[in-house]
């Protein structure tokens, strides 16, 4: 199956080509001075020549664009409201995300989990100043988790906490409007129910949340801003 040294060189070539596709900056570096960039890889003379030529090919830029399109697709599919809430900050956040978190795989669920974790950390550290992002991320990552959950494992119910009226926030984000700064603030909870054929979203009364606090083994707040729940009745929700 090929000479071992040839295959090692092929591996180095493939690794370098993937690195170029992932990083327009690396491409620019290699165009300006290919030797130090290519020296990072254990390449045969032929592979060095090939890469030095490819990185100058104007179509290398298309590889870089497609890398980004492929990585943004799962984020946009599963976090459309978060993308909207981020607005003009989205591009910068994606740049930071991609520069700090290389693609380990391109599966939708892990990729969206990585992105959600990234935004949560940025918001907690104060590096992302947006009042609505944390709750929107929580809401959409919970929906995504339910979508991928095994039907026979857990009760397919979750609650998510909002600090702004979700009826206003989610409606404005869903229709692509500008998020007003004066959305009513407070403690709001929504119930996500994926036990039927379609996901349903309902607002919970605060009484229902109190009941949950008293009877559920885990305090919803101590468990974070979303929790798995059981035992709700139709009287507990505001449809």
């Amino acid at each position: 199956m090929g000479d071992a040294s040839e295959l090692m060189s092929l591996l180095a070539f493939q690794r370098a080509l993937a690195d170029f596709a992932a990083s327009p900056n690396l491409c620019r570096e290699a165009i300006a001075d290919p030797v130090p960039v290519l020296d990072r890889y254990d390449l045969s003379p032929r592979e060095r020549f090939r890469l030095a030529s490819m990185v100058r090919d104007p179509l290398m830029e298309t590889n870089c664009v497609l890398y980004r399109v492929n990585r943004v697709t799962p984020i946009y599919v599963f976090f459309p409201l978060t993308c909207h809430v981020l607005g003009p900050d989205l591009r910068g956040e994606l740049d930071v995300f991609w520069s700090t978190c290389a693609a380990v795989d391109l599966q939708y669920l892990p990729e969206t989990e990585r992105f959600a974790g990234f935004l949560r950390n940025r918001a907690r550290r104060g590096e992302l100043k947006n009042s609505f992002v944390e709750e929107t991320v929580e809401y959409e990552s919970t929906i995504t988790a339910l979508r991928f959950a095994a039907r026979d494992s857990d009760p397919l119910l979750r609650i998510v906490k909002f600090l702004h009226d979700p009826a206003v926030l989610l409606e404005v984000a869903a229709r692509g409007g500008i998020i007003p700064e004066d959305i009513p603030q407070g403690e709001y909870w929504v119930l996500l129910d994926a036990s039927g054929p379609d996901l349903t979203v309902s607002r919970l009364t605060l009484e229902a949340v109190s009941k949950l606090r008293s009877c559920h083994s885990r305090d919803p707040e101590s468990a974070g801003s979303h929790s798995r729940v059981t035992g709700f009745t139709d009287h507990d929700v505001l449809h």
Partner: protein, 301 residues
Amino acid sequence: MLPPGTASPLGVGILYNPALAEFLHANLKAVDYVSVIPDTFWTDQGMGTRGRYREISRYVEFLDWLACYRPLVVHGLGMSIGSAQLFDREHLEQLSAWFERYRFRWHSEHLSYARIPVEGGGEHNAGLALPVPYDAEVLEMIGARVALVREAIQAPFLLENNVYYAEIPHQEMSETEFLNRLCRSGSCGLLLDLHNVHTNAVNHGIDARAFIDALDLAAVLEIHIAGGNEIGGVYTDSHAGPCPREVWELLEYIAARTPNLLGITFEFHESYNDLLNEDGIQAQLGKAREIWETRPSLCLS
């Protein structure tokens, strides 16, 4: 050439995406088979992990329903058959288990790589399917892997011609020579993606018909048709809605000359579902069917 009788012609199919669930529920008669990307029906915890593949219940339930009414074929993403120093036997076992379960009529992979092993274990994903150099060592490496796939799964195995942007210079073989030599042993067939050919023709100035003429068309078992669009002035294989005129012309040009063709598959990205809508999908499938029915083999039957 593949041993005869390993699969019979199916007709016109569609590559499944989640936006198609409603369409297929309502219009199953529009397709003779459905092609599915198995990797989108599970999450993969990574090589060597226990319970590595976790199926996504909702998606698999739909597939179980679909499999009752239409033949399935598989179009894989995860094998990364062109990766140096990485061949994932666990992935092959998973595909084999799915073959036992769904008896897909044939299966295919891209002639490219996306997975790259990293020092100290684990792997990195390139984020897109990148082409392999058409060199003898790569031909030998992939040929050996094809043999392993054929041994594990008793269904025809096809490899798809690449779309490429930055071209790899000084390759030892042309793409058509590489494909012909790969298929010559009879262990794999060719999934000829006409939109890939068209995209390469637009971006690299190759003559699409000359490319087709240089192929051993007896090895072509499936044809993919799709649309694309321009990104930054470059034509891309984005599966953006309907097929362009050039792809239909290539399909007409080749359909009657592929004696072992099993199916023509229309593919589009789910984000273009609203652009195409039900009528648009029907129109694409109808046009593909018209061309399929001009095939001499169908007249004989």
